[in-house]
Amino acid sequence: MSQETTETILDFGYSRRSTYIKVLKGFWRVYRSNKMGMIGLVILAAFILAAALAPYIAPYDPTEVFVGQNLLPPSWQHLFGTNEAGQDLFSQVIYGAQASLIVGFAASLIAATAGTLVGILAGYFSGLIRELLMRLTDFFIVIPSLVLMIVLASVLGAGLTSIILAIGLVGWTGTARVVMSQTLSVREHAFIEASRASGAGDFYILRSHVLPNVMPVVFANTVLVVANSILYESVLTFLGLGNPNQVTWGQILQFAFVSGAITTAWWYVIPPGLSIMLVVLAFSLTGYSLDEIFNPRVRKI
């Protein structure tokens, strides 16, 4: 009973559903006026839609082989042409969106969870815990990320799961740093002091007061992490750490490179690369815009 009163008074009303919706509506009003953010969101929506509706949009099965139609330039039959095995590249690029987005989201989820945990603990507790966690974060910042991911992914065995784990386990440092600085400022607020005075434990304060207040920052940051994860997925797959039977944008480019078709078949290389670029750009624009709204002190680029 006493706990509930504390929560309703001190938690900025986050726990009430109607208020929550009001906050969201207010947020959308601000976001809508951000041109860059809207461009990002529209591109993003287009790609998510393409990935979700891949079976309806793609004219062929991405693995279907058209015998005798190898490395054909774009035509009405094959919008993006065909690859060296005689497969339809348009269908491959559409289906590739699925894997690339899934890897991006899954890896970011791991990174965001790890980063939030490390950041919140390092920010809330002082002394040895903070010192150790900051050392750990610094260690991961200094190590060359791509090389570490390569080593992790190859030890875990090639495939999408390994790539997700490798990206997630390496890419959490940015989130950890942002969450830590946010926690440091939240923890100075009077309502934390009040909560502690009324007998709340560390875990309760972390879960009910600190976490809700760092969540917006985590959210904005995670969108940026997705951009990075999709980039890294394409790189790791290109370097031969993916599953050759899984169609992803990085995998298409790897086949283009290994088969030696890159110097002749531009249609093999441009669409998947452009897709990666557009999706990463879209996530970056959305993430920066969210960051600007949630974290106004962030320097505009």
Binding site: F139, V147, L148, G240, T263, I276, S284
Partner: protein
Amino acid sequence: MANVGYIVRKLSGLIVTTFFVLTFNFYLFRVLPGNPFRLLFRGAGLSADAVRSLNAQFGLDEPLWVQYIIYLKNTVSGNFGLSFQTRAPVIGLIVPALINTAILLSAASVISIVAGILIGMLAAWRRGSKFDVSASATTLVLYSMPTFWLGLVLMFVGVIYFALPVAGMRSFTGISGIFGQLQDLARHMVLPLLTLVLGLTGQYVLVMKGALLDVFTEDFMVTARAKGISNRKLLWDHGFRNAVLPMVALVALNLGLSIGGAVQTETVFSWPGMGLLIYRAILARDYPVLQGAFLVVTVTVIVANFVADMLYPLLDPRVTEQ
């Protein structure tokens, strides 16, 4: 004179981190699922005897802690074991590769740092101008593409329109004299260098611009302007000198990122450096080479960061006082 506490703190950090990397590297490659030889000779029907003798040869049959001691002793003395693939000592593969990467990466870094500083300064000076907006947009677009893809596109253009070589560091025939060889090397370097420079410059532009914008808000800038000194003097003597300091730390921190770019670029253009070594090791599942390359690259980056930490107080004495 930098204070002693600062040096001790950074030095202990260097030692702890290096030791951590060594241990991490050891354990990572001992928890491999499956025996590397089985992976290596897939389908070749390796007999149990052959596996045992290979294990003994590579020290994989000892208890873990013995392996760890052997590993530390070997690593410190520069013995990274033998390549699974070629049976050659790993160190012999790493040293020439490291030199080739250093050639490519240092050239690319110098060009992109200078370009980044100049573009960043101009963007900050004319904030909000067409130049500033297009510099930011270009940076964002370049950042959004994977470096290897940028390399593939440039390779395509370079081959078709400029007949540039797209693989390796040198031609094997028809080149004579030192001048000829240097010219040949330069021609081979054009595309990988361009790829890396385009991939790296954006970071420096953003940091230089941000640092300069910060400096512009300082009181001494207002004073300098009030004194009536020229714009050029204001920008270079007051702005540049203060804004360039954060760049020193960034160059070292960015080394990790630059190496990521180099791995991709070298793979695309078959530049015989660390990146190509790593790529070939991935394809062959050549774990000793991968392990050695990871260790050398990581320790290089850690040491570079330490050197930057040591140089920084000499450039900006305020650092150690904090």
